[in-house]
Symmetry: C2
Amino acid sequence: MHATLLYGAGDVRVEDVPDPRLVHPADAVVRITAACICGSDLWPFATGPAGGAPARMGHEFIGVVEEIGADVTSVRKGDLVVAPWVFSDGTCDYCREGLTTSCAHGGIWGYGDADGAQAEAVRVPYADGTLVRLPVAADSALIPGLLTLSDVFGTGHHAAVRGGVTAGSTVTVIGDGAVGLLAVLAAKRLGAERIVLMGRHRARTEIGREFGATDVVAARGDEGITAVRELTAGHGTAVVIEAVGTRPAYDQAVGVVRSGGTISRVGVPQYEDAPVGVGSLFFRNVRLTGGAAPTRAYIADLLPDVLSGAVDPGRVFDVTTDLAGVPDGYRRMAARESLKVLVRP
Amino acid sequence: MHATLLYGAGDVRVEDVPDPRLVHPADAVVRITAACICGSDLWPFATGPAGGAPARMGHEFIGVVEEIGADVTSVRKGDLVVAPWVFSDGTCDYCREGLTTSCAHGGIWGYGDADGAQAEAVRVPYADGTLVRLPVAADSALIPGLLTLSDVFGTGHHAAVRGGVTAGSTVTVIGDGAVGLLAVLAAKRLGAERIVLMGRHRARTEIGREFGATDVVAARGDEGITAVRELTAGHGTAVVIEAVGTRPAYDQAVGVVRSGGTISRVGVPQYEDAPVGVGSLFFRNVRLTGGAAPTRAYIADLLPDVLSGAVDPGRVFDVTTDLAGVPDGYRRMAARESLKVLVRP
């Protein structure tokens, strides 16, 4: 079958790889009908993989179950399913608490011996814990929205939940990528009253406004901080969602958060150390929360609203391609010509 | 009157200073009957003040109201009162939310033109917002316990509250100073089931056991982390209270916190940057919270239990002295000969 491989910085290829097959009794094999390219894929695309062997890419997919192992009970051959970006056993303490990203048996698509999802098919470990059946056809108009349950909508939702967004909240969202925009949608869905979106790409911030942003601040750094403070009587907002992952974005979050407020990060940090002392978080009692989003745990909550059309997270896809178009999709997203690329293998 | 002045590292003197007097209509003048030396006083005592002028010291006190300004309505001459370590107006948004440390008009005793509490008397700004009447006599046996409401018990309580301690919680407390021990007491009071106290001073950890610690780990660093993980099936505890303020203590907190758990800091950070990235907090969804404790906001909740004897936070005082003995009190605490020194001016 064909799968996407990252050979190094800027070097993505679609090549033949062995077909996936069942290895463990809890496995399933899923033929992928919809996948996509993630903003987080752009980090390795920019910097190259660590080792010498090419890396399998893609961690978001919808597909049709082709084969199941002897222990699999929750899905059957022919079912349309969605998978979160982390597979997990569904039975350990962490999974039962909803922190599937900390599952002892979990893993991320494309890492170790796990298949990547920008491909024709994948072996799914712990199919019962990982997969969720979808009550639609593979060609449903809802597929783009349902595909965001793999990662970006669930991640935006995680940011809002961890940030403590509730009815009447005032929120700043830093970043107008797919996760930032879906954090706006998630915050709105949870009842946020005021949502300030910090982003510079007008086509994207317009989607943010459709999703519920009440204000858009295009400025960054000190200028952006000043602008948000001016919108909030000098105080900043009680919740700040950081959906970029750079140190400047972190610093911006510290600058716009209200004293006693919460910074919720879902942009994968491209830094390890950052200011957390008296002058940044401590004296003002600012909480730092968020992290890798256990999107599997949120599907049950979010799915009905996607199916009903109450929310339309699939709006973040602006390009659709086949597998052969994946390398160009990386290029387009890296160049910010495209917000998020949908892949139909 | 006499007051305590810090001239530089290791150089604390008790000298004559002008008597405090009313300046603003919201002020009171309070004659101090009980004060104390704080672990946080030991940082400037070790490193010396930043400027040239000596610094007024002390931020915890009980005393008798001697004079009130024209606008003061909540206390009267002759009342015994306790003051938190931060004075605050009691009327701004932050004060009404219970974040008195972020009061726009607030300040810390000994900073700027504010008097220090290791003295015979102080001018109290915003007396109505700051002071709380105590229904006991100035020579009550409850005074040591009530004095901890100024800072250390309220700070331990803040750590537990921000850490999310509730009935059945499992908590690690890092640090066997007065704040660490009172964080144990606060966690126990809030229903924590298991409390691991990390501290090396046996006399102190014994008080920790009296306060509710179920386990004591004397080891530090990697060895200490391993010990706590061994006590918790390899996972660490869901709540970690960091009551020291050094980078090694922070690293220890990261090491013993369970995935999905919370690090609540109340030790004043002696660092600004620390690890918060993928490898430390982010991937494991660890929250970082805590901060400068708004102890004024907690007095109403804690006072009844101190008055009833349900808790005895005054156990942290092991030496009592007069003002003349304050310099030796600093020396004793810095040398860890004393846990916390009570000052009766």
